[in-house]
Symmetry: C2
Subunit: 123 residues, 2 copies
């Protein structure tokens, strides 16, 4: 393991305490829908309707909430083109791309191992 959890905690003093910034951001990006929206955007710019289809099962409410949160965190960029009908594009910011570089390997690992790990007895 390259970096230990203890070293991470030491490096950023005060992190991981209740309600700290690190925990808040972790909750945003590791949330049920946050991961999937970020993953979808990591493939490129998406419109609202495309995201809605691409992230199967998400409701309009949760898509709106998730996009607002990730936007406020500076991970997602929203660009609206004045036109009728409206045209809005979502994409990752540089910060968001930096994040996904760390997150995609994890998602890949889960996709590879998930089916073997469910429903079996504790080791």
């Amino acid at each position: 393991m390259t970096v230990s959890y203890a070293e991470i905690r030491e490096a950023s003093v005060g992190a991981f305490s209740e309600g700290c910034g690190t925990r808040v951001v972790l909750d945003h990006i590791m949330s049920k829908w946050g991961v999937l929206v970020l993953a979808s955007l990591s493939d490129g710019t998406r419109r609202w309707g495309e995201l809605r289809r691409d992230v199967g099962g998400i409701s309009e409410k949760m898509l709106a909430t998730t996009l607002r949160t990730l936007s406020a965190d500076g991970l997602v960029h929203r660009e609206s083109f004045p036109a009728v009908p409206p045209h809005v594009e979502y994409s990752l910011t540089p910060l968001g791309r930096d994040l996904m570089e760390r997150m995609l390997p994890l998602v890949e690992w889960v996709a590879e191992h998930a089916d073997g790990m469910l429903g079996r007895d504790p080791v």
Copy 2:
């Protein structure tokens, strides 16, 4: 970016659909408490009470639930030593250590960037 989301989806057909194994496991390990429990265990074996203190703010109920889930997924190993008073140790399985190798870089990145990202306006 080493691997694209599209490539991951292609490699594991059927993943990321509603209720699929990948999504279920993602929910377990990316959950509010799952991440913190796994991170704590990545530093080494912990007893129940140690986890309770180390993961500040977790209730007994959520600690129990989280440990059972991660255990059933084969990520956490539970070993109880017959003694009075009881002595139980939790640790990562090889699978769990493999997972944390991918997750810790992400956690480290968040700890480093979190404080700069909160409460600011959308980009």
